[in-house]
């Protein structure tokens, strides 16, 4: 198993090597954390590379409190795999997760941790990791508190004034973090999550579970994912309480100002980080991590709105490319003069659906039409639909070959040897539902058919899910959100310049940047408003 050597430059600390088993009883808490070395100054940094028996690599920087007494720094670092998690506003930074454990505290242990955890929604795959979490799960029943029995609820109840980040006041930081944790819990639907978790735990213990491997896999995946979310939040809470303890202790023992500053810095990092976590908590839906199709359809109004539809499609292509998603045009019906009648692109990558779903609805444009010789102001509409592409086959509706009608699209003439054309577009109609799909951008009819079939499958799946959701009161609200008719955003290029989201009232005054794909502000504000509203119900 993983063992590691941690060498401290300051020579105060000792070398520590542990395997997982011994850690098992040594360690009460485990934190998954991420470090970003450049944020730390005045501290001793050691680069440490770890290769575990799981062939996972952790490359991280360990920071320890400088000038601290030796007790502080008997640290062990236990790492799992590094992983990439996607976040709307994050660059492709290096992320690593690990468990940082250090010994010292009133309770015998203290932990210092690197708070930039960005992976609320990523499920752990390492066996070791999940085992660790379960271990913690059993110990987490008691509500965590500081040495003077300050709990999360009490911090919030204290109503400490939240000052600006620059004000170095620990109470302010603590209050802000506690508030964020509340938001995160709300977004994760904490109580429901706990109930669900218990339910899944019970199911997992059933001896006949694996008789249906597909179902079992689903249960265990969901369990792992929920558990992971729960642990992460708890760890974050714990971390906050420990920093408060540290600060109090430092004051009591009249430790150096430097040490106090370190804890304050750590709190500040947590505070900033908690904002990112709040956003991540937005993408916890079952399908959020999927790839998706984005479809744009021009509204009434001829060339003017077809041009607008093309602009909207381009906006999404740029947005997707900015996020490093793969973009494939599946289907595109160009307008006669300009623009597109409709188009479908496939956006491939993690959380593509989670973000893009915020764009569903009608987008309205007001501008002086370049197609109007009279230079009059025109209003055009384009409708956007977003369909998740389910990763595993388990949610798929079984489509029978006999229920399909496959047609050559835009065919004319005698065909066969008479015609040499590279156009082999097909349209597939699913007769029972009336759902259709078209693809013409592949180079063979066979591939066009396969591609159209994939779109059709997703559409039929979505229809089925909507049907199921209709029976589930919880989803009725979101169902009305995906209906086409609703206008969600207004892009005004004339007489003034502004883009405004009609759902959130979020607005920016530079339409060009939005049309170039800078949509994250809109997406995140919508996603947060959605979930926060849900919780009020």
């Amino acid at each position: 198993m993983s063992s590691l050597i941690y060498k401290r430059l300051g020579a105060k600390s000792l070398l520590l090597s542990q395997n997982r088993r011994t850690q098992g009883h040594l360690v009460p808490f485990i934190f998954s954390s991420l470090s970003e070395s450049h944020e730390y100054h005045g501290s001793i940094q050691n680069r440490l590379v770890l290769a575990s028996g799981l062939s996972s690599f952790l490359h991280t920087t360990v920071e320890s409190l400088s000038g601290s007494n030796p007790d502080h720094s008997n640290s062990s670092f236990y790492g799992t795999q590094s992983r990439h998690s996607l976040h709307a506003d994050s660059k492709d930074g290096f992320c690593a997760s690990g468990y940082f454990v250090s010994r010292r505290n009133i309770s015998g242990f203290c932990s210092t941790l690197h708070p930039n955890v960005r992976s609320l929604t990523v499920s752990y795959q390492s066996v070791v990791t999940s085992r660790w979490f379960r271990l913690v799960g059993t110990q987490a029943a008691v509500e965590p508190s500081t040495s003077d029995e300050l709990t999360m609820d009490r911090i919030v109840a204290n109503q400490w004034t939240i000052l600006d980040e620059n004000e170095n006041d620990w109470k302010s930081h603590a209050a802000a973090i506690a508030q964020s944790i509340q938001v995160i819990k709300r977004r994760l639907q904490w109580k429901k999550l706990m109930v669900r978790l218990d339910l899944l735990s019970v199911q997992l213990t059933k001896p006949d579970l694996w008789e249906d491997p597909v179902h079992a896999g689903k249960i265990s995946r969901e369990h792992g994912s929920l558990l992971c979310k729960m642990k992460e939040v708890k760890a974050f809470e714990q971390e906050l309480l420990e920093h408060i303890d540290l600060i109090k202790l430092a004051r009591e023992e009249n430790d150096t100002e430097l040490e106090l500053q370190e804890s304050l810095k750590a709190l500040l990092r947590m505070r900033r980080d908690s904002k990112a976590k709040e956003l991540e908590a937005l993408l916890t839906g079952e399908q959020d991590s999927f790839s998706c199709y984005i479809e744009v359809q021009a509204g009434a109004g001829g060339t003017e709105s077809m041009d607008w539809a093309a602009m909207v499609m381009q906006m999404y292509k740029s947005w997707a490319q900015r996020h490093g998603y793969g973009v494939i045009v599946v289907d595109e019906m160009p307008g006669e003069i300009a623009g597109i009648k409709r188009a479908t692109i496939k956006v491939e990558g993690e959380y593509a659906f989670g973000y893009a779903k915020a764009e569903v609805g009608v987008h309205r444009l007001v501008r002086i039409s370049p197609f109007d010789s009279g230079k009059r102001r025109h209003t055009s509409f384009a409708a956007v639909a977003v369909i998740p592409i389910s990763g595993d086959g388990s949610t798929c509706v079984q489509i029978n070959e006999s229920d399909l009608r496959i047609e050559r699209f835009r065919s004319g003439g005698a065909g066969g040897q008479h015609a040499n054309t590279t156009d082999s577009a097909v349209r597939i109609v699913h007769i029972p539902t009336g759902v259709t799909a078209t693809c013409q951008n592949e180079r063979s009819q066979h591939q066009n058919k396969a591609s159209a079939m994939a779109v059709l499958q997703s559409r039929v799946d979505q229809l089925e899910m909507a049907r199921q959701a209709q029976m589930n009161a919880q989803h009725t609200q979101s169902l009305t959100d995906i209906t086409w008719g609703s206008q969600i955003r207004s892009y005004v290029l004339h007489p003034y310049r502004m883009v405004k989201d009609l759902r959130t009232n979020y607005e920016v005054s530079n339409p060009d940047s939005v049309l170039e794909g800078d949509l994250d502000g809109f997406i995140l504000s919508y996603l947060s408003s959605c979930l926060d509203r849900d919780e009020d119900d």
Binding site: K317, E407, S411, A414, G415, G416, Q417, T421, S444
Partner: protein, 384 residues
Amino acid sequence: MRPSLARVYRIKSFTLIFQHKPSFVAANHHQRTPIYFSSLSSSCPNLQIRKPQTPLFLRAASYSATLPDLKKWHQWATSLASSVGSTLVDLDNGPDSTLLLRELNWLIQDSFQDHHNSFIPQLPTTEFTRTRVDSQVVKLRVGLDELYRLWRQRVEERRPFQYIVGCEHWRDLVLSVEDGVLVPRPETELIVDLVSNVLLKESNRGLRDGLWADLGTGSGALAIAIGRLLGKHGRVIATDLSPVAVAVATFNVQRYALQDVVDVRQGSWFEPLKDLEGKLGGIISNPPYIPSNHISGLQAEVGRHEPRLALDGGFNGMDDLLHICNGAASFLKPAGFFAFETNGLEQCKFLVDYMDRNIKGSICNVSIVSDFAGIPRFVTGFRQ
């Protein structure tokens, strides 16, 4: 258009198995040289080992051009394609601008070494102008001059796109094609599905390891696709009269490493299969079926550039279909399957009637199958 020689040589009697037929092998698209084969001599006087052309996408990227030059070419090519509008559709059901622009993207895909990094076809001009440094050099599989020449050929001379890039994407295959070889059509893909359905039936298990024949194989499309469907012992013999087709089909068979499965033989229809009467498990064919008097009115890509040998089916387009039909009766073994492509409803009916009248005792379960455009396209059936 010269008068159809096929008509002059048309065989009146359907019962003749080996017929004399004039054929044309287009050396290039400007002139055709008629080549006459004697049906009785097994060796062809013109037969020589030809080296088929390498499709564009398989060539080494030994050329390069700067991005501004490529951008200029792209803009020129785009405007040339756009200038077409729908004029060619109205003229002879040719390509419209949209299709040509899509082909332009595919030309880029095939001729650029890293098309996705440098010249993403999906992005509008402004996007790569902004994101690319002008001095950047792009590796190409073909010279910039050649790109200009090729695109002009495509739009102005109506040279089929598949000949421009030297390949056709057909089903899940990418087949090499060149002047002198018929570009396999999307409709013909369905024959593979028909065969696949037959092979899936438990009662037809034996056919999976049987001997199949693809008559008039052209690029080898059907032979290769069916070769991949067959079982361990299944074999396909692909015949074609045209030496160019034989060379290209052989090349394609090798590209899919099917040398042990598909045997390409030169000769007219059943001629290279002389010793196999009553032994074939299946026969498939997409023979020439266009009536001779339609040839002159064909879409320019077809009429001006594709080999007449593969298109002209005689007076009513039925010459070769009837010939193959008769042959099928004697070459198929009992329960053997056949599928032939036709020009449409009229020919399908004609063929079914003909079988009913002339070879009723030996053929059964005859049916007509439509293509995706709803045109009755295929006649299928079994040997009794």
